[in-house]
Amino acid sequence: MTPEQFFGLYIFILAAFVGYQVITGVPKLLHTPLMSATNAISGISLVGSIVAAGAHYNSVSTALGFIAVTCATINVVGGFLITDRTLKMFKKRKPGGK
């Protein structure tokens, strides 16, 4: 393993712990928005696909990169939109009832 790869492993393990800690704090009420939010965040694979699509390494990489950019964009754009749409619906009882 190169030092860079070791460093990546450190980051992965620490991020997984942070993620687990943060996510245990999410109430069951919001588990669906949590799922769509993490979907949107996992659209971060855009970062990898953008380079593959734009670097012109070879035509196969460009084509695969294009497919990947499309898929990841669907997740990012759609994921954040739908999360916000869901979260907007959660309202507290108005004081004094309605």
Binding site: H31, T32, V69, G78, R85, L87, K92
Partner: protein, 458 residues
């Protein structure tokens, strides 16, 4: 110079993602949190566009446009009852994107790859591919294109596990000798197949666990991409997603009192499916009319509504709220009891009721409300079945014995809205339906509720 700017943007993005998820710990801070995550995503994308390898932008922009053209309408137009389908699809896209990046990296570097990088690519492609087909299968089952009933055949588990072992073995061999191109593509094909075959035997009622697991896999695949490209923001975001999916799967499995292995290999309900409702059982059913149900509700001092997947199917959440509001107007206390696995994904019922303008402080979790049933006049069960089955508490021979259920049977009276006497998705008989204090009202939940509302308004 640009390199460190990109790195700074990535660090900021990672922090914003974590803060964004932290915001989800309360409905009041959730939207602000998501805004932070969105800003983080934007920063990561801008940073990537500055990457020195990029020579032209036409395919990138084309992908952005096509992705938005597909993604935006789905997100804006999809009805809330179809959210599980949309989530399954997005796992599929996430998996496919990761797999494609992995294949592209392998195609470029092939035999020059070191062992660790090859391992990461193999892992990424395998997970991405099986997440893709597995999620498409889950989507098909949720949509009803593919039967929601578990599909089983002889030696299914043995053949599935062997297939998976061969796939992992291929990855291992590629780490040893990355120059075997044919083996790499065979592994890709196998992984696609494994995804399909693993989800095939899983029944509709187990979908919350499967969807959570696939969520986790999609995240791990993204993380593996980060190892391949030595990109830390990918590693971090993927790890967050993976941890979240893993945590949700644990909660869902616990709520069904089953282990991962049991969900994945148990083909739940396959045997009980054929067992018909016995004549003796149907004979004991106390069928009520709309007037009877209306009368009970009119005189109730307290009401607990228990929604299930049937409410989503009938799109009855608005009718439920209307009825509950009316009962509340008569002076009764109204609460909603949400079982963690009611519906087809974590939090499904909460979202539907929120959509129908039910304030979220009326929604109670299983543990928070289970002691209240014995002091409640009426429990109204709308399209829920297994999650209210008392056999889980009393009958050690029941397939769901030990699963935590809502104590609906302890309420003074129970009204069950159900389409017919057919057993639920898991095919298990429910003796709640034949108890003396239970009144069954058959028919489409939405129509029944609307008619009861009309009855109460008289």
């Amino acid at each position: 110079m640009i390199g460190s700017l990109v790195d700074l943007l990535y660090i900021a993005a990672s922090v914003l993602f974590i803060l964004g998820l932290k915001g989800l710990s309360s409905p009041e801070t959730a939207r602000r949190g998501m805004l932070l995550a969105e800003i983080g995503m934007l920063m990561a994308i801008v940073g990537t566009l500055l990457h020195h390898d990029i020579v032209s932008y036409e395919w990138i922009v084309a992908g952005f446009l096509l992705g938005s053209v597909i993604g935006v309408p789905i997100a804006v137009l999809i009805p809330m009852t179809k959210l599980p389908e949309r989530i399954a699809l997005s796992h599929a896209f996430g998996g496919l994107a990761a797999a494609m990046v992995g294949v592209s990296e392998y195609y470029r570097h092939g035999e020059e790859l070191g062992a660790i990088k090859m391992g990461a690519i193999g892992f990424e492609v395998m997970l991405g591919a099986l997440t893709f087909t597995g999620s498409m299968m889950a989507f098909g089952k949720l949509q009803g294109v593919i039967t929601g009933v578990p599909v089983t055949y002889r030696f299914q588990n043995v053949s599935n596990i062997s297939l998976f072992a061969v796939t992992i073995g291929s990855v291992a061999y590629l780490v040893y000798d990355p120059s075997r191109h044919a083996l790499f593509y065979a592994m890709l094909g196998l992984a696609f197949l494994v995804g399909l075959l693993f989800v095939l035997p899983i029944g509709g009622a187990d979908m919350p666990v499967v969807i959570s697991l696939l969520n986790s896999y999609a995240g791990l695949a993204a993380s593996a991409t980060g190892f391949v490209l030595s990109n830390n923001v990918l590693i971090i975001a993927g790890a967050l997603d993976g941890a979240s999916g893993f945590f949700l799967s644990i909660i869902m499995s616990k709520a069904m009192n089953r282990s991962f292995t049991n969900v994945l290999f148990g083909a739940f309900g396959a045997i009980a499916e054929t067992a018909p409702v016995s004549v003796a059982q149907t004979a004991g059913v106390n069928e009520g009319s709309l007037e009877d149900a209306g009368m009970l509700l009119e005189n109730a001092r307290s009401l607990i509504v228990v929604p299930g997947y049937g409410m989503a199917v009938a799109q009855a959440q608005h009718a439920v709220r209307e009825l509950a509001d009316l009962v509340a107007k008569h002076g009764a206390t109204v609460k909603y009891a949400i079982h963690p696995v009611a519906g087809r994904m974590p939090g499904h019922m909460n979202v539907l009721l929120a959509e129908a303008n039910v304030p979220y402080d009326q929604l109670y979790d299983l543990d928070a409300i289970n002691d209240d049933f014995s002091a409640t006049d009426v429990a109204l069960v709308v399209g829920a079945n297994d999650v209210v089955n008392p056999a889980a508490k009393t009958n050690p021979r029941s397939p769901i014995y030990g699963m935590p259920v809502l104590n609906v049977d302890l309420a003074r009276s129970v009204i069950v809205l159900k389409r017919s006497m057919n057993p639920g998705f898991a095919g298990i008989e429910n003796d709640l339906f034949v108890r003396p204090n239970t009144m069954m009202v058959f028919g489409d939940a939405k129509q029944t509720l609307t008619r009861i509302v009309a009855e109460l308004k008289k």
